[in-house]
Symmetry: C2
Subunit: 228 residues, 2 copies
DNA sequence: CCGCGTTCGCGAACATTGATTGCGAACTAG
DNA sequence: CTAGTTCGCAATCAATGTTCGCGAACGCGG
């Protein structure tokens, strides 16, 4: 798809939305902004879930028609990108203590809190890269925390990607207890039929606390405290 | 939704599809099977991607109408579940060497190969739990590998979940080079504007090999060789 | 061999979705 | 004030998931 501009030029919309200018300097000014639309979309998602974020729904919430949204966004995916990066702005990136492990675990736990506040977020962050302005800011922060760390840049990026994958995945598991229960019922059925001794012998730990903090510590240290 | 049966009973379809019987013993026999439909759906997905897996498309490939599929499946999500578990049958689970770390890394690398063969798979495994018969089989295998390991059951399950999350996430990143390039362009733009020193100072390692095997080793050992 | 109960196949139909288009109104620049 | 441009909006299109009703196919009991 191509968008024509006042200068007669043309912009390939295969770029991320943040690279495309918002509005044009001339002509009738827009009555809404990407920010405003994004906030409304996030509110709708918090209330009705991700499938509730239809162009018609969001537009209605804004008191307008569906077609109007396409003046601000090329397609629905753009809107989803905006939403994901919007909530990435909820990070508090000024807690650095100087201990890289503590700081990275803190980022991971903050990420989980964000995912908990917005149960629709895992589906987005797991399916697409989050590389909007706020996502970039978080990445820069992590790199700053690891600035004095001896690991190579590649290793740091791998650790960052893994941190993200683990947190988002855990958050998704938390978010859909329905799926969990359906799975549990099926597993119980399979176990009841025999033939899966180790699955049958499984029993949950008594009084297991929150596993994520220690898991994150172990993963990050395993990845970055290279004792191969 | 509810499905009536010959005995006058009723079955809640909120169960996973594998808990619901295929066909009914009486009446006109079905001319197709879940297996057959699943195989066709997988083939369509391999060719046209996940959005190509529409009820009409799959039905057409089977030489029938869309409505017919609903005799075998309650909804599209059921079909996706079937597909995900179907390819989970591609695991070779008879390679156990006795060394749990080697064996788990092997499972992870096998999972990546499966994801590579079916580029649509990450979107499924990341979004929903894979707990069909074949998925259960893989879980049982992992538990068998870890049978003599001193870690607690909870720790083992956490490690398994993390293994899955990491592999699927890495596979997704591999699968969509388009997104990667768009992100790269935006990051380059941000860096060019200054203000992100650590991001700017980033340079990729020369001749970096495949990072996943060592990453998996480090993560799994970090999680299961408890040296807190 | 035949009817009966039940299921299956199938096409038409419905609601909803993302996206496009054409036009009049609103706005800025000169 | 005029020219040029963009914006808002409603109508519209194509495609999707899903439901429904009906006639035909089948197995079983007589």
């Amino acid at each position: 798809m191509r968008t024509a501009f006042a200068n007669g030029g043309v912009m390939e919309s295969s770029e991320l939305i943040w690279l495309r200018p918002e509005g044009a300097g001339v002509g009738r000014p827009a009555s809404r902004s990407r920010e405003e639309i994004t906030e409304v979309a996030v509110r709708v998602a918090d209330r009705d879930g991700l499938p509730g974020v239809s162009m018609r729904n969001v537009a209605a919430e804004l008191g307008t028609g569906a077609g109007t949204l396409y003046r601000y966004v090329d397609n629905r995916d753009d809107l989803l990108d905006l939403m994901a990066d919007h909530v990435a702005g909820e990070f508090a990136l000024d807690n650095a203590t100087g201990d890289w492990l503590d700081d990275l675990v803190d980022v991971g736990l903050q990420a989980r809190e964000i995912h908990r506040r917005h149960p629709w977020l895992p589906e987005l962050t797991l399916t697409r890269p989050v590389t909007g302005p706020n996502g970039i800011e978080a990445t820069e922060y992590v790199l700053a925390v690891l600035a004095d760390h001896p690991a190579s840049d590649s290793e740091k990026l791998v650790a960052l990607a893994m941190l993200h994958a683990v947190v988002a995945s855990a958050a998704r598991a938390e978010a859909s207890t329905v799926d969990m229960m359906r799975s549990a019922r099926f597993i119980a059925h399979v176990v009841a039929q025999g033939g899966h001794p180790h699955l049958a012998a499984l029993n949950p730990d008594p009084a297991g606390g929150d596993p994520l903090p220690t898991a994150l510590r172990r993963i990050l240290r395993g990845l970055l405290s290279g004792v191969d």
